[in-house]
Structure formats: structure tokens, C-alpha cells
Symmetry: C2
Subunit: 214 residues, 2 copies
């Protein structure tokens, strides 16, 4: 019953944000997290260990695992950093700039997957630690969408758009990357610094304003 009410409320808020330009997009706030390779997963959690599903994320196939790790930098430590599944080819850590200052590292602003010459850090788990020479990034804000959404918004994969955030801390984000894939779910991904700076939380709605590349 509660779930049904939540769905109705979500649908109603979606259609109200869709008024006017019809370009409302729900917000997904990414807290600090780590994607692990199978090899690093075993080093941290033990030989033969596989990730324990905890809950699904909005993007198809992605999930939060029960496992967490500790990040150890030259200036500080962050505990309880969530592992996201499934396992990937390469270990990648996404943190905010604020997290970076706390750890004493300076992760570059990058799109997910682009980790060459990014920041390093020590990652500790219950069964061991790994020393990453690179892999820590500050993820650039982006919008996931399906081809249907892209057509409706008049944008293409890898376009950059501007996004309007309403409210007392309202702003217009420039340089927002569009990512189109049939399996994606419409969502504006920002990190905790961006969310907290402009007063956004999960499920809030923002508006796609214009394409910068066309």
C-alpha cells in the first residue's frame, strides 16, 4: 500500500515538473562509493568472495552491496564507503571534492571509466588492503536516459546541456553530460557536494534547459 502511494506521488510530482517544456528529470545523488574488480574484491574480502546484494539502484543491474571499505589517505580516513555491484573490469572510486580534502588527495574531475592518471588511495577491507596508484575520481555530473527520452529532449549521447535547479539555492549547472542507452533510467546524477550546495536530494526534479553542443 505504502509503495503504491509512493509511486502515485512520484508520478504526480513528475507530471507537475513536466509542465511547460516537459523536461523534468529526477535527481540521483551519488554518495562516495567504490566499484571493485574481482581481484581487488578477493584481496579485501577473502578468496572466492562475491558481493552480497543489499538493494537495487535505479540504473538497471546496478546494486548496493552489503560490503563496505575504509579509504585511507595521507591526511585522513573515511569509513563505511559502500561497494557497488556488479564487479567491474577495474576498481574505481568516486568521491566528492570535500571527501578529497578530508583524505588529503585531489581526485580529478572525470567521467566514469576514465581513470588514467587519476588519484590514488589505500583501500582497507576486513581481509586485507590494496594500494591504488590510480582509480579515484570526482565524477562529472551527467544525465542517464533512454533513446526515447533523448528524442523527446532533442539531445544525443555525449551532448552537453545546461540544467536548471529551482529553490532558494537555485542555480544553473553547465556542462552536464548526456548519456543515452536503452537500459538507462532517466536520472540526473550529481555528487553530495553538488546536491548539498544547491539543496537537492534524491527524487527532486530539475529541468533540462538547452543543449550546449548544437
Amino acid at each position: 500500500m505504502k509503495r503504491i502511494v509512493e509511486q502515485i506521488v512520484a508520478e504526480l510530482s513528475k507530471s507537475s515538473a513536466d509542465d511547460g517544456l516537459g523536461k523534468g528529470i529526477p535527481v540521483g545523488v551519488s554518495n562516495r562509493h567504490i566499484h571493485l574488480s574481482a581481484e581487488d574484491c578477493e584481496k579485501l574480502f577473502g578468496t572466492g568472495h562475491t558481493l552480497t546484494w543489499k538493494n537495487d539502484l535505479k540504473q538497471t543491474g546496478e546494486f548496493a552491496a552489503a560490503e563496505t571499505v575504509t579509504l585511507v589517505g595521507p591526511k585522513g580516513v573515511i569509513q563505511s564507503v559502500r561497494v557497488l555491484g556488479p564487479l567491474r573490469e577495474r576498481t574505481q572510486i568516486e568521491i566528492s571534492r570535500t571527501d578529497g580534502f578530508g583524505l588529503g588527495i585531489a581526485p580529478p574531475l572525470r567521467d566514469s571509466g576514465d581513470i588514467a592518471r587519476s588519484a590514488g588511495v589505500v583501500v582497507a577491507g576486513p581481509c586485507g588492503a590494496i594500494t591504488l596508484k590510480e582509480g579515484v575520481i570526482c565524477a562529472g555530473r551527467h544525465i542517464h536516459m533512454q533513446p526515447d527520452d533523448a528524442q523527446r529532449f532533442g539531445v544525443h549521447d555525449r551532448d552537453h546541456v545546461t540544467v536548471e535547479v529551482p529553490g532558494p539555492r537555485g542555480c544553473i549547472f553547465k556542462n552536464v553530460l548526456i548519456r543515452v542507452h536503452p537500459e538507462f533510467c532517466l536520472e540526473f546524477h550529481i555528487d553530495t557536494d553538488e546536491a548539498n550546495a544547491v539543496g537537492l536530494k534524491n527524487g527532486d526534479q530539475v529541468k533540462l534547459m538547452q543543449c550546449e553542443d548544437v
Copy 2:
């Protein structure tokens, strides 16, 4: 010699940011801090204690004190929170939304001085602790300027303007409060969430775009 070079570089970057509309404004990032009343200062640091000057801030008469306090919330603790001087009529704490999540409190977005029904927290010093029922805010972004600046920018005290931030995490901040006073020094004040979200640091330049109220 080093200081002269720095001044020249600062002047050059200022004049380059002043190109076009001539509306470059230097950024001042406010880290979490506390302003103390004389009474609270004595409770935290001992009877008869006065603040120890550490370094001047850019705004005339304001200084960072050598003293720091610990904030204790229901969910967490933040150590080494800087006391700013001089003493004020009422104790006020300015933290970011990220700090608020860490402490487990939700400070409202307010202009400095407006602390009625704001968040509470426990403040601990070397000689005792105080329990604030209110006084913790998330400071709204604002620009300090002198009357000459206001005339040049075509704005008035208490106006709201938009501010453009350049760079890969570029954005346009709306609802930026203008504060005009003969003793003010031109500076765009933002908190650490805002600075880290858009890649700004102390001394960077932003551009005043337009007045929203006129």
C-alpha cells in the same frame, strides 16, 4: 619580491576578469566557523578569557582566532572548528549542509544574524560546554561590496543577483544577496559545499551577471 609578484599577478588576473562587463569579483570560501558571545566565550575557554588574534580576514576588523571548539551533534562530531573574532552579541555557527549531515542536524539556509528557530548543537571547549538551542545556520551566499562597487555594478544593498562561475564545473548561482557597506571589501562569500561543487577556491574570480530584483 615574492609579494610584489603576487600583487602583479593578482592585478593582472583581476583586469582580465574585468574584461567585458567589468564585473569580476574575488571568491572567499567560508569554512565552518563559530562567532561567540562574551558569555559563551568564558564558558568554553574560562573566566575572563578573550580571543587570541591569529590572522586577519579580508573583511575589515574580522579575524580568525587561535581558539577552536568541537561541535557535538546527535550523529557525529566535528573537531577544530575555528572561532572568528571579534566577539558578538550572540553566538552563531555557520556550517555547510554536508557538515550538518555529519552532525545529524539540519541548519536552515539563512543570512548571517538571522538565527531565530535555527538548529541547535552542543559546543565543547577546553573549559566547558554549552548547549545551543538555536544558532546554527547554513549561510546564504552573498557579495560584500563598498558603495563605489555597488554604483559600478548597478546594484543596491539587499538586491539579489546572479553570478557566473567559469570552468569545467561552471554554473550560474541565482539568489545571491548583495550587501553594501563602506567598510566591506569586495568578495563573493560561499560555503565549502558551494566551492567544492563548482571547483572554486579563495581568490578565484566570478562574474556578476545581472540584478534579479530590478
